[in-house]
Amino acid sequence: MSLVDVRNVWKRYPGKTVLENVRLEVDEHEFVTIVGASGCGKTTFLRMLLGEVEPCQGVIEIAGERLVPEPRADRGVVFQRYSVFPHLTVLGNVLLGLEFADSRVLGRTFGRRRRLAVDRAEAMLDRVGLLSSASNYPSQLSGGMQQRLALAQTLITEPSILLLDEPFGALDPGIRTDMHSLVRELHRELGLTVFMITHDISEGFSLGSRLLVFDKPRLDPHEPDLYGATITFDLPVGNRPDLDSVVENLNVT
């Protein structure tokens, strides 16, 4: 059974169809990259997986259960912007998920439990290379650091699915490459299933194990909003675990 099962999903807004008849099955540990023209409904699709937007028609199942239309802890997310909390320090941002889990009433932990949480958060910050900025506020970080913080904050609660909406769209190319290797490593280490939207086709090809192209199969030139987009291509690509080991072997020799 596949982890994510999208069956004949439609999304319409008044006067326009955004997505039509989207079908997709994704297994655990896959790294799915999503490309498509601007405005074709990629973010809408991601927000449906998130539970923030409800399909008008069709079913989304995760691990065999129908998706509750509400964001849940099994699906972490990083947006292009606004993913971190400006009023919390870097450490505070990463602690938040742990504190939510630990204290239902105050949403805050104290004493020994807090020290344990801080240890975990610091280990996570170290993993993404932000430990030295732990006491800074997000506004004092660069764009790339903010996105790494957003990753750390999301991953601390151990989601099984990671949803990324153009997370590196605003970063310059050098930093983007660093982020690629980070995401690729985290994907492998934590056994995540990743969905990542990107505008950068080469990113789509190199980073993922599977590339989805969203496009409109039918287009009425007089009424472009009449038909919606769907998955027109579904390709196995670059970063496949089986290929990875081959590449590593090549590097060694």
Binding site: A73, S83, L106, R108
Partner: protein, 268 residues
């Protein structure tokens, strides 16, 4: 260099800021001198000496009847009303504005109501307040609350709605409950905005305070101004007005400091 690129230096900033104040004082002294030369009993523009004597009378000499220093007891009475009134309004603003902005069902019930209530001119219902609450402290405080709370409720509601949708989604993916998200994500971000809202509403709070004191009171800065008006005592009214202005300025300054000190992440 273009005019829009020329800036005053450090000394220039202070000097430019002080100039209009000094000028106003000079104009006043000159005008007062002219009028007093014509009629030494003129009350409209008392000389600085007369004003100084009046200040000494109200601020530094105990009142013959009560033994109080009038300016200080007036100030204490007024500030107490102002603080209680604005404090209550801020609490109400938070308690109604946050759920109005965050919870669709709550907002559906109360948001239109708040909008309608905020259209009532508070001074128009001042007589009702006096009838309902008597002419004691409560009515005066209530006028300030009713005068400033609607603005604060709407302002806070708006600020909560302005929080990026992404943040609330993110907090939910971290498994936060509505209550936890309110407590850890919404409230801390709204507090500095509340302080800003309070700063903005202090102006009308003073207005309602002075209006209420003018109509029904036995002490307070507004009461005093309207009392001595009967004797055309400009020598008392003018320092009182300056004093009220100074208090208002200091309050605004203090609140700005509070924001910078308590919420270092805000507005950077």
């Amino acid at each position: 260099m273009r005019l829009l690129n020329r800036r005053p230096g450090n000394i220039g900033v202070v000097a430019s800021a002080a100039t209009p104040f000094v000028l106003a004082l000079v104009v006043y002294v000159a005008a007062s001198g002219v009028r007093l030369a014509e009629n030494p009993d003129d009350k409209l523009l008392p000389s600085l000496v007369t004003v100084g004597e009046a200040i000494e009378r109200v601020a530094l000499t105990p009142d013959r009847r009560t033994g109080d220093y009038i300016l200080w007891t007036d100030t204490a009475a007024s500030l107490k009303r102002l603080f209680i009134g604005v404090g209550l309004a801020a609490a109400v603003g938070l308690a109604v504005g946050v759920p109005n902005g965050l919870l669709p069902w709550f907002g559906a019930f109360f948001s239109p109501w708040v909008r309608a209530m905020s259209m009532i001119p508070p001074l128009a219902i001042l007589p009702i307040l006096f009838i309902v609450f008597g002419i004691g402290e409560l009515a005066k405080v209530m006028l300030i609350v009713l005068g400033t709370a609607p603005f604060l409720m709407r302002d806070i509601e708006q600020r909560v709605r302005e929080l990026p949708r992404e943040q609330l989604v993110k907090a939910q993916t971290l498994d936060g409950t509505t209550w936890q998200i309110t407590l850890r994500v919404v409230l801390p971000q709204v507090l500095p905005r509340l302080v800003d809202g309070v700063r903005l509403s202090l102006g009308s709070a003073w207005l309602f305070l002075i209006a209420a004191e003018a109509i029904a009171s036995t002490d307070g800065l507004g009461y005093r101004i309207f009392l001595v008006r009967r004797y055309l005592s400009m020598d008392v009214i003018l320092p009182y007005v300056v004093w009220i202005t100074l208090l208002a300025f200091l309050l605004d300054f203090a609140l700005r400091r509070v924001n910078r000190r308590c919420f270092p992440w805000y507005g950077v």
